[in-house]
Symmetry: C3
Subunit: 206 residues, 3 copies
């Protein structure tokens, strides 16, 4: 059996869970933003900026703890990689929201919502997985499912790019939409990186 860790070490799990919780908030806001009309989007993007700042605080708290403590519940590089990858997920989602506002996009292609649905699901799974790092039990389903979601995101992304080049003849609009679609694909990759890091941690300890 695996013993619970000491209180001091416990807070890594709390902070990682907190960081993942911000991703759930962020992906929900991103989904809300897609459904809103252009005037409504700015306020939602502002909320997403706030969620990103809160996530940044969690990341910094993890990094500070890493720099100032000797004992870590698992390999310190892996904690660092995990915190960085969680941070990347948020940065990509925030950037997508910002670009939609900045580029004054009128009509967002329907498939972009499919990309964001994948991110919502990935962030929920990630948030459920983080506290399980304490015991490292029942995590395999999580990383398998997130890898599957990333494959799905990849297919949606590829179809979207083909569709944009087929349907959009205004090169400047094409440039804008392509950038948004690609940053959402980067977000899906970042979630996969979180899952791969969790897998690495569990394999090392098993």
């Amino acid at each position: 059996m695996r013993f619970r860790l000491t209180p001091r070490e416990t807070s890594y799990f709390d902070l990682l869970t907190e960081s993942a919780q911000h991703l759930v908030d962020g992906s929900k806001l991103l989904s809300e933003l897609l459904g809103a009309d252009r005037p409504g989007r700015k306020a939602i993007a502002k909320k997403l900026n706030d969620a990103e700042h809160a996530a940044d605080d969690s990341t910094h708290a993890i990094m500070k703890m890493l720099n100032q403590t000797f004992v870590t519940p698992f390999d310190r590089d892996d904690i660092y990689n995990l915190a960085s990858a969680l941070d990347d997920c948020m940065d990509c989602m925030e950037e997508a929201a910002d670009l939609i506002v900045l580029y004054k996009i009128d009509e967002i292609p329907r498939r972009v919502s499919e990309q964001v649905q994948v991110l919502e699901r990935a962030s929920e799974l990630t948030c459920e997985a983080m506290p399980k790092l304490r015991t490292m039990d029942d995590l395999e389903d999580y990383w398998i499912e997130v890898n599957r979601l990333e494959n799905q995101a990849d297919k949606i992304h590829r179809k979207l790019i083909a569709q944009l080049f087929d349907e959009i003849t205004d090169p400047i609009l094409l440039m804008k939409l392509k950038e948004i679609v690609e940053i959402l694909e980067e977000a899906a990759d970042a979630f996969e990186k979180v899952a791969n890091t969790v897998e690495t941690i569990v394999l090392k300890e098993s």
Copy 2:
């Protein structure tokens, strides 16, 4: 004199060589794809996808071994970096092939073949170099030559970009070709990163 490593450790060299062998296959397919007509390209891109999956399996096998063994023939971070950089070479070559198909490019500028010839040569050299990590002898020529090839790739890339902006007036076609040319340049950078990691490993052990 340097003794041979134990059988267990040996497999890192086998897996790295295997990974590099997939790069040789990949670069040859990419070259073949450039010479094919549009209808023929899809089947070749499919073969390149298969080569990329095979390369992925080699990478995962290396990562798994790294996570589950204590003794490594050289610094574990360097093995990790080497496997990742080899993986990046393949990802870039696959992406270039996919984009040529996805973007339905009619005429590929002649200089793109020059980029791919450099990648073919770099992958052959890399494949010859990997088994030499066992004894670490005779590797200097390899990394010097790959660095020279990267400089050459850089010059071809720069000329190609200038040429595209001079000759192509359709902004959407320009966007497509620029992306393909840049991902091929990234592939050359990734081969250089492999060579630099090999240099690091040899210098540490010398």
Copy 3:
């Protein structure tokens, strides 16, 4: 009190300072290039290429020392990260200069100078900070100020992108200017990464 380090270790500080000094030169040349007319820019870009080569030599000297010595004045990963981040600052500034020449830009938007002013200030602060790593005193103001500068750069960048999309109707010119503006933003990010690495080093030692 903190003792001075041994002469051998000292040279890390010299090399890091040397590397940062090249950034001061590079940012000044970039600023000069913006003020020059099109025919004059090529010669200035050439000087910037030379500065980049010199910076490369400093980086390689640091990496070689890292690979061949056991004792380092602080965590070897942090020295590696610091040298890499300094190198990234230079690469981005050089690439911006090269693109301005390669793309034969006639009129550079005024706000690009504001981006470069931030880089000049960040490189001066970085150059003053490097020798202080010897005693690790008085470095907090440096990383706070560089973080502030990065926020400022981010705002300028965002306004510039909005302005480009509002004012420029030629998609190819837009593509060119956007790429230049973004690589300058990457340079500001790289300076922030240097500062964050310095903060990490100081926190670990405190």
